[in-house]
């Protein structure tokens, strides 16, 4: 399963990079979203014992008993944090890309190269 997941992760990163190498603002944003997906999925595979089926990290409320083979809760909490953070940042980038497009009057990133001119 890890092998399959690693391929999925690789594809997410590859797609992200390809999109970020394009000139369109929207592709750039989509690339960033995929990049975040890749990182989150990668973290997910890093849980204790890889990934586990049907064993959510929820314990018995009364006794606190833990079923054997329960999935790693820590990595899930970390990813949750990371997902929310990337959400905030994605929202900001969307707004920024919008404003940049508005100011430059083009959605071509190559038109946004003036600040580096010598």
């Amino acid at each position: 399963m890890i092998f399959l997941l690693s391929i999925a992760i690789g594809s997410l990163f590859a797609g992200a990079i390809f999109l970020m190498l394009r000139r369109s603002v929207i592709k750039l944003i989509l690339g960033l979203i995929l990049l975040a997906h890749g990182a989150h999925l990668l973290m997910f595979t890093m849980g204790d014992g890889g990934v586990r089926r049907g064993a959510p990290p929820i314990v018995d409320y009364e006794t606190g008993a833990v079923a054997p083979g329960t999935a790693d809760p820590l990595v899930q909490a970390l990813i949750l944090t990371a997902i929310v953070i990337s959400f905030g940042i994605t929202a900001f980038i969307i707004a920024l890309a919008y404003r940049a497009t508005q100011a430059v009057k083009s959605d071509d990133l190559d038109d946004m190269a003036t600040t580096d001119r010598l």
Binding site: G54, P56, I58
Partner: protein
């Protein structure tokens, strides 16, 4: 849970997965944006169904509430898409 039931349910899950893949085919092919949007709606419905079936297999009632949220979001996403297809011009 009897082994036969588990096997059958696994089979159903597999079928649903195939169905999901077919839906994705439309999402890939398009050709128009509303086609893709419609496919997306159906993807979300498949997601709901997959989760529901999976909840039976792993015997987890707790996933049922997840289904609720997924359903809401599927609707929201589709509506947003449809709205902006109209607004933004295809």
């Amino acid at each position: 849970m009897s082994p036969l039931f588990e096997m059958l349910m696994n089979g159903l899950l597999a079928l649903t997965a195939i169905s999901l893949a077919m839906t994705t085919g439309r999402l890939l092919l398009g050709p128009s944006i509303p086609d893709r949007a419609m496919a997306f709606d159906l993807v979300m419905i498949h997601t709901v169904a997959l989760i529901a079936l999976y909840a039976i297999i792993v015997d987890q009632n707790l996933l049922v509430d997840a289904v609720l949220v997924v359903a809401v979001l599927g609707f929201l996403g589709t509506v947003a898409l449809a709205r902006y297809i109209e607004k933004g011009g295809n």
